[in-house]
Amino acid sequence: MPKIKETKHECENCKVAETKAFEMENLYKRALADYINLSKRNEEDKFKIISFANEILITKMLGVLDDLEESQKHSKSDGIDMVISKFKKILNDAGVSEVNPENGIFDPISHEALDLIDGEKDKIITVNRKGYLLFGKVIRPALVSVGKGN
């Protein structure tokens, strides 16, 4: 009876089509979810980019600030003092804050140990180079000498 065969054949096609449609729906949902998640993250990334766009430039400028401060130790000029405070004000306005942990306890998140020297264990004895944060993120750790506890 050819008619019955035909119906069966159609049903098989239906099943294939159904499975395919189900697969496609799944793929579509995944693609859509991927896209939505991507958009959300893009928004977050954009915020980060805006906040930290100056990070590279600022990090480079910190080297110049170090040099100015070092030079001030030798020359003690009021003029350079003014230049340094002006420089610091600009950095401060841009979200930069200083990490100068003298006498503090060593913390590897914001400090980098240069060497171990005489002094109380784990205490920062000398700050060799100040550290800096940009909106709370360490952009340069403070380079410190830590007490070895003898």
Partner: protein, 637 residues
């Protein structure tokens, strides 16, 4: 199924990537860095991982474990382990079954336990970034890793809480990042000069499967050695100049290290760099400064011994692979040091061909691992079905300019629409000329078809709004429709296979556009200036007719003369500046007329002293009185 994290578990640094929107993307760690030092500090049973561990390595040398990958899955009596044990300050000893283990504070840790800490950090940071749990990973290992080393790496993944879907070879991952898995029967050389190790691998790809034919390398050669050469040179230069030895001064050494790394990076893109460290030290005579210039030639001379060290392993690997150099089809570079021009030159000389570039060599392995993860998860297969428009699609607008609607490399299916208008008064039809190509002028691009939309109600120029819509379906079939918003009349055209150009044709069209960029820009600028000028003349005529007798006759005649002159310029002149200055002149005169009209209106009404509102004042000041994003369409008379 959750995402599969691709991890490059490196000797010095590790990196991770994920498939996102069909592309592999590096994930930054919690500190905001794209790579994480493979360093772990164990203190009182607690772990510190990554940059924080590295920063305290000086004060906890015996508890800070780095390069643990070098002893992974190896026996303690292995020559490599013995070599590493001499180099590192922490203790390596023989553990269970004679395997190499690390001892910290009297407790034994297997290399897999230490590596697991790095992987655990990567996992946590990836989860924080993605906002979902990540359970599956693809981890890369050097091609020379044996079964024991691979199993140990897999075990490290398990300890960290991952289901390790696959362990793949680093050179294979790098090849995947460049899409080389799609090639058949090709031979690939992967040159990997990283932070601490050098590896060369020769692979063969057939039917999507990579086979490692040979590997070689140097486990104690990397970027740090190059920095050291610069530091030694700086110390010598300073000693010659000032008689002071900086090598004993730890703080000065730290500054030299930073400066050397910076100089090395700069010399990859510039011919010479200034190394300038003020106040590096001081003696009785006062402060001393270091100020020297290092040029690329000198740098290459300093590191030539190191560079030469990579040549022999390459030769051996090629020989072992049984493949001749000329048979190598592709060369892939991995590791930050391969940015050095001299390294690229050496590789080019050895293989006689340009290596692949484009993917960040620090990240290429993690990217490849993520792609492998994507293939396993089914992401990549689906995405590959999506095509891109190889060339920009647009229509011809006033003056023969090609105005793009869909830019090249846009993923399809996609659609875009823009509203255009008429260029002449009472124009009742527009011709839509569909173009493909990167050139500025319509005549230089490929014409895909034209159609006419008529029946637009007669109106002054710039008033009718014709919406042109481009829609490309997933098969690359382009539908272009134009609809007059007022009458609702619509016409459309279907263009089959708008993406069906051969690679050569596409390349040629893109290259042509680059070659002619400057002259095309010039042509376009001239036409745009003419369009603005023409608009100005119409706008001036309208203002005069609106003002009627409120304009002094002499002023009116002067403006009319300017209009005639400007129109003549539009027809004959090729000088953009001349047209612009004449347009500005006319614009100023018309603004004066506008202002005087307001003044006389104020005088008549004797109203409050408020000046003209900004909206209205803007009308005559603007040389282009069309609505925003309404571009005039090609005129069909």
């Amino acid at each position: 199924m959750s995402k599969i994290l691709g991890i490059d578990l490196g000797t010095t640094n590790s990196a991770m990537a994920i498939m996102e929107g069909g592309k592999a993307k590096i994930i930054e760690n919690a500190e905001g860095n794209r790579t994480t030092p493979s360093v772990v500090t164990i203190s009182n049973g607690e772990y510190t991982v990554g940059v924080a561990a590295k920063r305290q390595s000086v004060i906890n040398p015996k508890n800070t474990i780095y390069s643990v990958k070098s002893i992974m899955g190896r026996r303690f009596d292995d020559i490599e382990v013995q070599k590493i044990a001499k180099e590192v300050p922490y203790t390596i000893k023989s553990g269970k079954n004679g395997m190499a283990v690390v001892e910290v504070d009297g407790k034994e840790y297997t290399p897999q336990e230490i590596s697991a800490q790095v992987l655990r950090k990567l996992k946590a940071d990836a989860e924080a970034y993605l906002g979902e749990t990540v359970t599956n990973a693809v981890i890369t290992v050097p091609a020379y890793f044996n079964d024991a080393q691979r199993n140990a790496t897999k075990e490290a993944g398990k300890i960290a809480g991952f289901n390790v879907d696959r362990i793949i070879n680093e050179p294979t991952a790098a090849s995947l990042a460049y899409g080389l898995d799609k090639k058949t029967n090709e031979k690939i050389a992967v040159y990997d000069l990283g932070g601490g190790t050098f590896d060369i691998s020769v692979l063969e790809i057939g039917d999507g499967v990579f086979e490692v034919k040979a590997t070689n390398g140097d486990t104690l050669l990397g970027g740090d050695d190059f920095d050291k050469e610069i530091i030694i040179w700086l110390i010598e230069e300073f000693k010659k100049e000032n008689g002071v030895d900086l090598s004993k001064d730890k703080q000065a050494m730290q500054r030299l290290k930073d400066a050397a790394e910076k100089a090395k990076i700069e010399l990859s893109s510039t011919e010479s760099t200034q190394i300038n460290i003020p106040f590096i030290t001081a003696d009785q005579s006062g402060p001393k400064h270091l100020d020297v210039t290092l040029n690329r030639a000198k740098y290459e001379q300093l590191v030539s011994v190191l560079l030469d060290k990579t040549k022999a392993p390459v030769e051996v690997a090629i020989k072992d692979s049984g493949i001749s150099k000329s048979e190598i089809n592709e060369v892939v570079l991995v590791g930050g040091m391969t940015r050095t021009p001299k390294v690229i030159e050496i590789v080019k000389n050895i293989f006689g061909k340009e290596p692949h570039k484009g993917v960040n060599p620090d990240e290429v392995v993690a990217i490849g691992a993520a792609i492998q993860g994507g293939v396993l998860a089914g992401d990549v297969k689906d995405v590959l079905l999506l095509d891109v428009t190889p060339l920009t699609l647009g229509i011809e607008t006033l003056g023969g300019i090609s105005t793009p609607l869909i830019k090249r490399n846009t993923t399809v299916p996609t659609s875009a629409s823009q509203v255009f208008s008429t260029a002449a008064d009472s124009q009742t039809s527009v011709q839509i000329h569909v173009l493909q190509g990167e050139r500025e002028m319509a005549s230089d691009n490929k014409s895909l078809g034209t159609f006419i939309l008529d029946g637009i109600p007669a109106a002054p120029r710039g008033v009718p709004q014709v919406e042109v819509k481009f829609d490309i379906d997933a098969n690359g079939i382009l539908n272009v429709s134009a609809k007059d918003k007022a009458s609702g009349r619509e016409q459309k055209i279907t263009i089959q296979g708008s993406t069906g150009l051969s690679e050569e044709e596409i390349d040629k069209m893109v290259k042509d556009a680059e070659i002619h960029k400057a002259e095309d820009e010039k042509k376009k600028t001239l036409i745009e200036a003419k369009n603005v000028a023409e608009n100005m003349t119409y706008s001036a005529e309208k203002t005069l007719s609106d003002a009627k007798d409120k304009v002094e006759v002499s002023k009116k005649e002067a403006i009319e003369k300017d209009i005639v002159e400007l129109r003549e310029l539009v027809k004959t002149s090729q000088d953009v500046d001349e047209i612009k200055s004449k347009t500005d002149e006319l614009s100023k005169k018309i603004q004066e007329v506008g202002a005087s009209m307001y003044q006389s209106a104020e005088g008549q009404t004797k109203g409050p002293e408020a000046g003209p509102s900004e909206d209205m004042g803007g009308n005559t000041g603007n040389t282009d009185n069309k609505k925003e994003d309404v571009v005039e369409g090609e005129v069909e008379e």
